[in-house]
């Protein structure tokens, strides 16, 4: 997804405590998320999930499947 792009979460492919943390931060099936910015070397992405702004490592973000809006 490019900066400013939004998508609807189809699935969050991370289990365990990390998965639960993502859930707590609003990364749930059906929720709309927006990419706000990329970090140096595009290693991380800042995502808006509702009113939360969450920094995610690219490898974590890649496990969240979204349907582009």
């Amino acid at each position: 997804m490019e900066v400013g792009g939004s998508g609807k979460i189809i699935s969050v492919g991370i289990d365990g405590a990390a998965g639960e943390r993502l859930n707590s931060l609003g990364f749930k099936k059906g929720r709309t998320v927006t990419a706000l910015a990329f970090s140096l070397f595009k290693g991380g992405v800042l995502v808006a999930a509702g009113y939360n702004r969450v920094a995610l490592r690219r490898s974590v973000a890649q496990k969240i499947t979204v349907e582009r809006l």
Binding site: L22, L25, A37, L40, G43, G50, N52, V54, A55, V60
Partner: protein, 559 residues
């Protein structure tokens, strides 16, 4: 048994700020996720208030969450502190807390900021939606409510009303990025701004005729020169004169005269944190730290290291991977803390009329050394198949902080520095003076004292960098207790001032950048990674410090 009220909630919800208000404490607060790393307890009017690290769930993603969850399970009352700006997602934890312990009240913070962005929260409707009492009141009022619960039991339960929906009780307002946020989430702007603010701070702090240097001169005159001249004129006994002028006024007064420069450095670090810029940097630098198997959270730890190494080590509790925590703890002593400022200035001022470029270079070299050593150890771990630290972290909104909060924090940090100098450094100066003026036969010249005897052996290790004065070797030794001691001991033992060569001065500064930090940092490191690893890292740091100092001396000697 006393009544325990635990303040629990998501990170950066304002738990410690509330704890400070309820208990009149001064615990460290900050506009960053994960400032509180260990539970804090205080008993007031028979009620034990417990501030626990932020948590997102009762599951253990980080060490902080483990300790928080344990405390929550044992509480008589849970005060769930909820940030109004992110209330919707915070309610996941609220629901879990209520089901874990029905004696839970919800306290909503940051409602003024919510209102500012066009949002609203109706606590009465939210109470009915949750089936638990919700408050949004001054801390004093909450304190009365907690006191009443502790005396009469939890008789303020609220019936859940299934007809109410969350959107009736809460609206979050405009969530678009502000202009400042768009700027600071831009990696190039954020990094440039950070470097510029540090250089600017060093400029106004260390450049001649700038506020830092001017105030330093004033403080030196008031706290050191004037009292020393007065004491020298009044006191007749030579030993007492030496004790008062060198140990008390020279040592303690000399270190206290650095207050303006340390305060300026602290002020900028506090403003960066309170405005949310440090938080933005953790995101922006994540791609860089990923190369060293760390996450952007390391940026927060390293920036905190400019203030205090021990406090910076505690921030690593928020890491999800042990290996990343270990590596960060091992490199944090390389980031020059506030206490090293007097050391650098004491060593460099006799050489440079303008110490600004040299001090600037030393601070950035420390940061670069921390990153370089971390990169090397990450490469070694990678070969062994080490696990990478991930980044899943909330980022705080960026905005101008109110003046009151940063000012209070600055006053508190300066006060802590003064207390440390007036207690720990003072005792150390007294011991050092005795140690450097006594031997088995009573009073003697410093050369023949206990300190002289030991340090004449120790100084051989500094011969490769051109240092042959045992007093400097002794000053370096005292730095292992607290870095402020180095400057104090030099002022105490060498009141006439240093006369080192450029190569020796700079090499000694390099030694102080790379050498192990103080005893507080040692204790913090033992708490986080254990004694065995701490000792191992300290020995490696010492070896590296000598090696780098020798290399610097050799290079400068060639030039």
């Amino acid at each position: 048994m006393s009544f325990t009220a635990v303040l629990a909630g998501n990170p950066n919800a304002g738990k410690t700020t509330l704890f400070n208000a309820l208990t009149k404490s001064r615990l460290k607060t900050g506009n960053f996720h994960g400032v509180t790393t260990t539970p804090a307890k205080k008993q007031v009017d028979g009620i034990v208030y417990l501030d626990v690290p932020g948590m997102y769930s009762l599951n253990s993603y980080t060490m902080e969450e483990v300790s928080a969850a344990e405390e929550v399970k044992r509480a008589n009352l849970i005060v769930n502190v909820v940030d109004a700006l992110t209330l919707e997602s915070s309610l996941n934890l609220t629901k879990k807390l209520i089901s874990l312990n029905p004696h839970t009240v919800v306290y909503v913070t940051k409602t003024a900021l919510l209102k500012k962005r066009g949002g609203r929260v109706d606590v009465s409707l939210l109470s009915k939606w949750l089936g638990a009492p919700v408050f949004c009141c001054p801390p004093g009022e909450l304190k009365n409510i907690i006191s009443s619960i502790s005396e009469h039991g939890f008789d303020i339960g609220v019936e859940k009303d299934g007809k109410i929906t969350l959107d009736k009780a809460y609206y979050g307002g405009n969530s678009n990025l502000s202009r400042a946020e768009r700027l600071f989430y831009n990696k190039f702007f954020a990094l440039s701004f950070f470097v510029f603010s540090l250089v600017f701070t060093f400029f106004i702090t260390f450049y001649p005729n700038m506020p830092g240097a001017l105030l330093k001169g004033l403080f030196s005159y008031v706290l050191q020169e004037k009292p020393a001249a007065w004491a020298a004129g009044v006191i007749q006994n030579e030993q007492l004169k030496s004790f008062v002028c060198e140990a008390l006024i020279g040592g303690v007064g000399g270190v206290l005269s650095f207050i303006p420069q340390i305060a300026l450095l602290y002020a900028v670090l506090i403003l960066l944190e309170e405005s949310g810029i440090t938080s933005a940097l953790t995101f922006v630098t994540d791609g860089l730290f990923e190369k060293f198997s760390l996450s952007g959270r390391a940026a927060f730890s390293l920036i905190s290291g400019f203030g205090c190494t021990a406090a910076a080590i505690a921030t690593t509790r928020g890491y999800s991977e042990d290996s990343a925590r270990r590596r960060t703890v091992s490199v944090l002593p390389f980031v020059p803390c506030g206490a090293k400022t007097p050391v650098f200035l004491t060593l460099l001022s006799p050489i440079f009329k303008n110490p600004f470029p040299a001090v600037c270079a030393l601070y950035f070299s420390g940061l670069a050394l921390a990153v370089a050593v971390s990169a090397i150890s990450a490469a070694i771990e990678k070969k062994k198949g080490g696990v990478r630290e991930q980044l899943i972290s909330e980022i705080t909104p960026i905005g101008l902080p109110e003046i009151k909060q940063p000012f209070k924090k600055l006053c508190f940090q300066v006060k802590e520095f003064i207390i440390k100098v007036a207690t720990f450094v003072l005792v150390f100066c007294v011991i050092s003076w005795l140690f450097s003026h006594l031997n088995f036969n009573g009073f003697c010249s410093p050369q023949q004292s206990f300190a002289g005897g030991i340090s004449r052996v120790l100084v051989y290790s500094f011969y490769p960098i051109g240092i042959t004065d045992w007093r400097i070797a002794y000053a370096a030794l005292t730095g292992f207790a607290a870095k402020e001691n180095v400057a104090a001991t030099i002022q105490l033992l060498i009141p006439e001032g240093l006369s080192l060569s450029l190569a020796s001065s700079v090499s000694l500064c390099v030694f102080f950048i790379a050498c192990p930090a103080c005893v507080s940092a040692f204790a913090a490191s033992v708490r986080e990674i254990g004694l065995k690893k701490t000792l191992k890292y300290n020995l490696l740091q010492l070896a590296l410090a000598f090696a780098l100092a020798c290399a610097t001396y050799f290079l400068l000697y060639l030039i």
